[in-house]
Amino acid sequence: MSRQDSSPQSTSGVRDAEPLILAFCCHYCAYAAADLAGSMRLSYPDNVVVLRLPCTGRVEVNYLLAAFERGADGVIVAGCLEGGCHFQEGNLRARRRVERAKGLLAELGLEAERLEMYNLSSAEGGRFAEIVSEMTNRVRRLGLSPIKPGAAAVAAGVQMMAQQAAERVAGEACGCSCSSACAE
């Protein structure tokens, strides 16, 4: 993957002004698209952390809120094109959950625009790069999340969520009915 590193540096050398974007990516589309973006040598901001899931239908509202609580400045949920979900309607369910989470964010006082659902296919490496750039620019306009904890807590939170996502993809703690994906 080729990523731009244009983030501003603080005097301590830590990129404390760069927004952290978490991307919950479906294994079958957005994750493959991210991979393709790298193969195509496309540049996109390096502040995105990709979390692979067997399907965006695995995304629950509490995942999305937990991401913000643990320091994400923006969250992307990227699933298959509507009608193209490997599990029929996982991406449609994810969209409804994203809408609910956006309502909760607005209710608690955080900008709902920090969270967005996108649909793309595995062939759209360019679109993935566009989405990440679009979200990064959007969050830069909004500013860093006022909920953001310290850098160490953010790193720990990201590491824990990445670990949980990896475990789910490995089928160790999935709990869903998507057996073919979990078996991988």
Partner: protein, 230 residues
């Protein structure tokens, strides 16, 4: 089941304004089924509440969550007894009975409601719950082909529809069925329309809530020396 929906986050945040350690307690029974106060919902609300507190300048308030099997029965609250001592307030995500059961169990602990308890109802379709029973204490469903006019007729009429029944809908709202249309259709299908030749007697409301809180006692189930007197 008892159907409830959650209070808005700012309302809950303001309720706990004077507390630094708060335990959110979910209930694993009715409110779990109606997706209002079960383990998952309490987790979501806990996360949202912590963020709301941070945004309102109180990031150090501790908010933890737990869910017990049933809040409306003291035996199930036992599991909370030790843990509750670590907190200075509880927000109950049970129905109103659950909130009060916790308050009775923890007399020195403020207990706040996280839900608005709505009604006794059923799951009509995924994500839609409708009221079916008012708990009047004197069930007369047998007289009305199994459809309750007390709960489902806006005017609580016992002897046929009012003039506001139009095309099977109630004049109160177009998306509300006329209870008397439902009663008529079902009675006709059951072949019991002749039941309605007689005038239905007025309801005996002495068994309702108007006489104050009610109590059901089963003497054969009681254990001598345990629990309050009937």
């Amino acid at each position: 089941m008892i159907v409830a929906d959650r209070k808005k986050i700012p309302e809950i945040r303001d309720m706990i304004a004077g507390h630094d350690k708060v335990l959110l307690v979910g209930c694993g029974t009715c409110v779990t089924v109606c997706l209002a106060g079960g383990e998952r919902e309490v987790g979501i609300l806990g996360s949202a509440l912590r963020m709301a507190l941070t945004l309102s300048g109180r990031p150090k308030v501790t908010v933890h969550e737990c869910t017990i099997e049933r809040q409306c029965e003291d035996a199930f609250i036992d599991i909370l007894a030790q843990r509750a001592t670590d907190y200075d307030a509880i927000v109950s995500f049970g129905c109103g009975a659950g909130v009060q059961a916790l308050a009775e169990r923890f007399p020195k602990m403020p207990v706040y409601p996280g839900l608005n308890t709505q009604f006794i109802g059923i799951l009509e379709s995924q994500g839609v719950w409708t009221e079916k029973c008012s708990g009047c204490g004197n069930c007369r469903l047998a007289e009305f082909a199994g459809i309750c006019p007390i709960t489902r007729c806006a005017k609580r009429l016992f002897n046929g529809p009012c003039a506001g029944s139009r095309d099977g809908k109630c004049e109160v709202s177009e998306d509300r069925d006329c209870a008397w249309q439902l009663i008529y259709d079902r009675a006709k299908a059951l072949g019991i329309l002749d039941q309605f030749d007689a005038i239905a007697a007025p309801q005996d409301w002495s068994s309702g809530l108007d006489g104050g809180p009610r109590k059901v006692v089963r003497e054969d189930q009681r254990i001598a020396g345990l629990g309050p007197k009937a």
